[in-house]
Amino acid sequence: MTLADLYSMMPIVITGGGALIVLLCGPLLQARSVSWISVVISGSAGVWAAFTPPALTPSFPGVAFTPLAQFLIPLFCLSAALTLLFSHGYNERRGILGEEYPATILFGLFAMCLLPCATNLLVLFLALESIAFAFYILVTMDLNRVESGEAGLKYLLMGAVAAAFTAFGFALIFAGSGTMALAGALAATGNRVIISAGWGMVIVGIAFKLSLVPAHLWTPDVYQGAPAPVAAFLSTSSKVSAAALLLILLAFSPPLAELRAPLYALSLLSMVLGNLAALLQSNIKRMLAYSSIAHMGYLTLALLTGTREGYAAVLLYGAIYTAMNLAAFGAIASLSLDAERDQIADYSGLGFTAPLRGGVLALAMLALAGIPPTAGFIGKFFIFYSAIRGGEMTLAIIGIVSAAASAYFYLKVVVHLYMHRSNAAPPAPTPAAESLALCCASLFILGLGVFPAPLMRIVDAAMR
């Protein structure tokens, strides 16, 4: 263990230590400064990770700063930082006080940073569960709304069952292969049948995290119940980390032949059901929940090809999806400062009375719909490209058609923003922090839509 190893592990140390520091110092400081400190912590962890060369050998036992980690950690850190920025004003109005909130976010971030670094199943599993654990707490944080508590309990119960499935899957893989390490050990040296059963259980567990049909049912409730910034964080980083986990596992010659049909079904059902169920949904958060179900269906579609291109598409899409959903939920959170705006109809006319936030929301919707020149289009393009290249023509066409239908509900929001009038008073002005965060996300969406090449290079580097 050298100093370089320690350097490469610094993001984990910073976030973990940061969580503890915030927890310790929180009571002594103002809520706002705690929040800013957390932003700085997550930001610095991200910057650190971005500028540290990846190492392929484990730095510590059980963890290695892989290229994948170098790609994902800054992404998670960025999204945590933006979430924290969105939470400032939102939490103040909601009375979500105390240092627990930023500390828990940092804890979640710590687990997220740990996940791509894991080199064995145990660390992987614990990181995954810690992420979920952080979200159980975060979702429940809004004590003023009973929905928040309900959502938390539902999420926890489902999550625990899913965790049991995942764990059982890991156990079977372990029992079948006799090793816990991720390096080459998952190769089918052991009992292939037992390993594939284990894979099946793991995928069921991950399907829950990715909210794939039929394990998707918690998603709308939890998105609706959770505080909006938490929903932003949940819908982005938690999903991306689950997808990353699958990627890490899939990198080690999984029994894809057996798993293709289940993955196919999951992807198909998710794309179709997610998009259909969102069509007439009038609650914007639930609508976004169904939309994220569909988007995870697209991700699965790319995963299922089992090709390098597919995995690259997953990473790229993960990054883009993060930006899009952060922008969407961020705008929702920011517009919900004075009153909860749950219904899509509540957003009538906001495009003009709150131009920045309305514009960002509209942009996010167009991006989610996959309309150029937004990043959403590039992401979808890459996904469907890899799917077709991987030979999944039918599924790609189904996905594309359902994506076309999905434009309807995204447009519905845009339509309300700009094409309906409302007599409601204009929303409270945007705090600077939120404007900053929203601008960041929008720039990301637009910039990537026009110049995706740099990100693609990064993604390819991360695939090494």
Partner: protein, 102 residues
């Protein structure tokens, strides 16, 4: 001692399935659902321990231990939520927690 691994696995799966059945059947009581989850996790532990013994390495047992810790964390948080929600809604029946749907 010559118990085939498959028998351990079968026992584990029986336990796992019973736990799952418990979770599914006892929708009326969160506590019993949590107990079901405990049973499932115990089955997982059994699998790990069996695998560990089968291959002669300690990793599985470690995993089992971690699961135990994880379970206790989970249970404590879950029970805290149950208490909190019981205070708010006066029920431990999960089917009563359906203010969000659609």
């Amino acid at each position: 001692m010559s118990v085939p691994l498959s028998h351990v696995l079968i026992l584990a799966s029986v336990l796992f399935a019973m736990g799952l059945g418990c979770v599914v059947a006892w929708r009326a009581n969160v506590i019993m659902m949590l107990i079901g989850i405990e049973i499932m996790l115990n089955a997982v532990m059994l699998t790990f321990v069996g695998g560990s013994a089968h291959w002669g390495i300690a990793d599985g047992q470690l995993f089992a231990l971690m699961i135990m810790a994880l379970t206790s964390a989970e249970v404590s948080l879950a029970l805290a939520m149950v208490v909190y929600l019981h205070r708010r809604k006066g029920s431990v029946n999960t089917d009563d927690f359906d203010s969000m749907k659609g």
